[in-house]
């Protein structure tokens, strides 16, 4: 029986506003252009920004007003859109996961956002913001009842009030671990230099920044200090400023990590992985092992020093919105070696006999890239008559060092039901693909590879591709044959 069309809580308009603000960030080129023109700058701040905010607020209210949903025992329907009206029907049969999220603005009113992940050629995520826990439970129970009736697997994961079942494994991340994650996963260290580079391209903006700095009393003191104390003091001062900036960036990264993964708790029950986390924005996310397409284990430079790892479980073509801190898939932010081994055992990954790629790869890359880079540098030095062209020769040892470092970390193995490919320079990234999830295989052999009886093998899973470069051709052919046979014989569910 069809239920009536329902409206979400008015608080959901806050959700719409936040989404619209995130979309409005895409207008930054227009703003940057307007800010660069002195005549337009006052208009931007006095009229432009307030007008945009007012427009978005009205739009968000209208979006909430036109957003309705309806559900019954078989499906859920959504009506949305202000000018461009949409009507979406989602059968429970196509729903794979049901997740709950509780943002800060919903927490105050005991409301939740219900996320339904659907399967299909264009994986879609349907979200109903601002509904009560009672309503979320009702939708869940109808979904579970439908799945039981159709003898499909149960895939709901977020009732915090249900008594917890005995776990196969539980992992809780304390503050210290989150601090470690903040140190390991610091994207600000890359964003800030890029941002600085972009700002430095605008002469107008640089002038604004320069004018602002000149007005600071500290700058006068620094200028006087450098003039009296000389170059050495200036260098020491510059180093101190650099270190302080680095510490500030890392502290900010730690703060963001703590806020995102506060009270992170992972539970593994059979083939179901589930975690809850978040200080301000609470997230409850699940993952069923039979949907696993790829496992990625990362250990960057800082993680290597801290002896920690990050692990991501990916399913087929994860929804565009399924990003946690810039990572797609089900993410476990920080693991010790023991915890990683335990999780890998639960997933079914077994240790294998790691094989190296051929060292001839290093020699050829040094020859080719060294010649290109060194030759270009030598030509530039000769053309501009600046430094000696022989400087171009320094490219060879530098590239050799870089390539040797990468070759050291380049390994692979075919295990019992898994293929693993590792890469990296100082840190490592290891990709594990279940053999039965392989979609396509490609063996390549160019002229250089053929000289060394070598080949390259590319393996596509449902979510990611991994490549084994410059390895023994017979061994890769054998791996390809084995994987193809394994996939061909596999008749179970694979997504």
């Amino acid at each position: 029986m069809q239920a009536d069309w329902r409206r979400a809580s008015p608080i959901a308009s806050v959700d719409f506003l936040l989404k619209n603000l995130r979309s409005a960030v895409n207008l930054w080129p227009a703003f940057a252009g307007a800010l660069a023109v002195e005549e337009l700058r006052s208009y931007v701040f006095v009229l432009g920004v307030p007008a945009l905010l007012a427009f978005l607020a009205v739009l968000s209210c209208l979006q909430w007003w036109f957003f309705r949903y309806q559900y019954d025992d078989r499906q859920i329907q959504l009506r949305s859109g202000v000018l461009n009206r949409k009507r979406l029907t989602l059968d429970f049969d196509r729903v794979q996961e049901v997740n709950l999220e509780q943002a800060l603005h919903f927490r105050l009113f005991a409301l939740w956002s219900l996320d339904l992940e659907s399967a299909g050629s264009k994986t879609k995520e349907v979200q109903i913001p601002g509904i009560s826990h009672r309503l979320a439970n009702d939708i869940r129970e109808r979904f579970l009842a439908y799945k039981q009736y159709s003898q499909k697997d149960i895939s709901f994961n977020a009732d915090a009030e249900a008594p917890p079942k005995p776990s196969d494994y539980k992992l809780q991340l304390g503050f210290a671990e989150l601090v470690r994650f903040g140190l390991m996963h610091n994207t600000l260290i890359y964003i800030i230099p890029v941002l600085g580079g972009i700002i430095s391209q605008s002469g107008e903006l640089m002038r604004m920044v320069g004018d602002w700095l000149e007005r600071l009393p500290l700058i006068d003191w620094l200028s006087a200090f450098i003039q009296t104390q000389g170059t050495t003091a200036a260098l020491i001062l510059g180093s101190i400023v650099f270190l302080v900036s680095l510490v500030a960036i890392y502290l900010l990264s730690i703060l963001l990590a703590v806020m995102k993964y506060w009270r992170y708790e992972l539970r593994v029950e059979g083939e179901r992985f589930q975690y809850t986390a978040g200080l301000v924005h609470r997230v409850n996310r699940g993952f069923k092992l039979h949907k696993l397409q790829c496992v990625t284990v990362r250990q960057g430079v800082v993680a290597l020093l801290l002896k920690r790892y990050s692990l991501t479980l990916q399913q087929t073509n994860a929804p565009a919105g399924d990003k946690q801190g810039g990572v797609s898939g089900f993410f476990i932010p920080v693991l010790t070696q023991e915890a990683l081994a335990k999780i890998q055992a639960l997933i079914g990954i077994q240790a294998g006999d790691w094989q190296r790629t051929q060292p001839a790869w290093v020699a050829w890359d040094v020859l080719i890239y060294g010649s290109l880079v060194g030759g270009s540098a030598a030509w530039a030095a000769w053309y501009f008559d600046t430094l000696t062209p022989w400087l171009g020769l320094t490219a060879f040892p530098l590239i050799a060092l870089f390539r040797w470092g990468k070759w050291r970390k380049s390994r692979y193995y075919l295990g019992d039901g898994w293929v693993a490919v590792q890469s990296g320079l100082i840190g490592t990234k290891t990709t594990y693909i279940p053999a039965e999830k392989v979609q396509k295989l490609q063996l390549n052999a160019g002229p250089i590879l053929r000289i060394h009886q070598a080949a390259a093998l590319k393996i596509w899973s449902g979510s990611k591709a991994a490549s084994i470069e410059f390895a023994d051709r017979n061994r890769l052919t054998s791996i390809r044959d084995n994987l193809l046979q394994h996939v061909g014989n596999h008749q179970g569910r694979w997504m």
């Binding site: 396509k440 490609q442 596509w460 979510s463 061909g488 008749q491 997504m495």
Partner: protein, 173 residues
């Protein structure tokens, strides 16, 4: 056990594409070179300093040499090296000589199939059969240079094999 391995299959089992395919490649190459020559002519007309006899002769010679290479050498070899193999549980494609590639896709991973014909392919009665999987970019497998009937026949055969796969008993969860 060995005969199930792809690498153990004899070369004769691999099938070549239609004999008209080299002519399609030659036509593509000729049209491409004509476009390049037209572009070079435009630049020569627009830049007086480029309109010197030796430079024009060199440019014309390069275009002709390239055209001769692609039509007389590259096209027939490319077509000759393009082979496909349909086995009980997978479809395979091999191409290239200098840069050799061998692609494989299991039947039970094919999401959908397409037979496409561009305007030049229609001229020669040829088509491309493409098999798409659920993998990321580049995970499709396309066999060009097939006669239209042959492409549809292979597509029908693949669909039958996929249906047989789906009807076979599956493992529990």
């Amino acid at each position: 056990m060995q005969e199930h391995l792809l690498s153990a299959r004899p070369r004769n089992d691999w099938r070549r594409v239609d004999p008209r395919y080299p002519w399609l490649l030659r036509t593509h190459a000729t049209l491409g070179h004509l476009a390049a020559a037209a572009g070079a002519t435009f630049f020569a007309l627009a830049s007086p300093e480029l309109r010197t006899a030796p430079l024009l002769a060199v440019a014309a010679g390069m275009v002709c040499a390239s055209l001769a290479f692609f039509t007389l050498v590259w096209s027939p070899r490319r077509a000759k090296r393009l082979r496909y193999l349909l086995r009980g549980r997978d479809i395979n494609l091999e191409k290239g000589f200098l840069f050799w590639k061998q692609m494989s896709m299991s039947i039970n991973r094919i999401q959908h199939l397409e037979v496409t014909q561009g305007p030049l392919q229609r001229l020669f009665g040829l088509a491309t059969l493409s098999a798409y999987s659920a993998g990321t970019q580049g995970s499709d497998l396309a066999i060009p240079g097939l006669a239209v009937d042959q492409a549809h026949t292979i597509k029908t055969r693949l669909l039958e094999m996929i249906n047989i796969e789906e009807q076979e008993p599956t493992d529990a969860g």
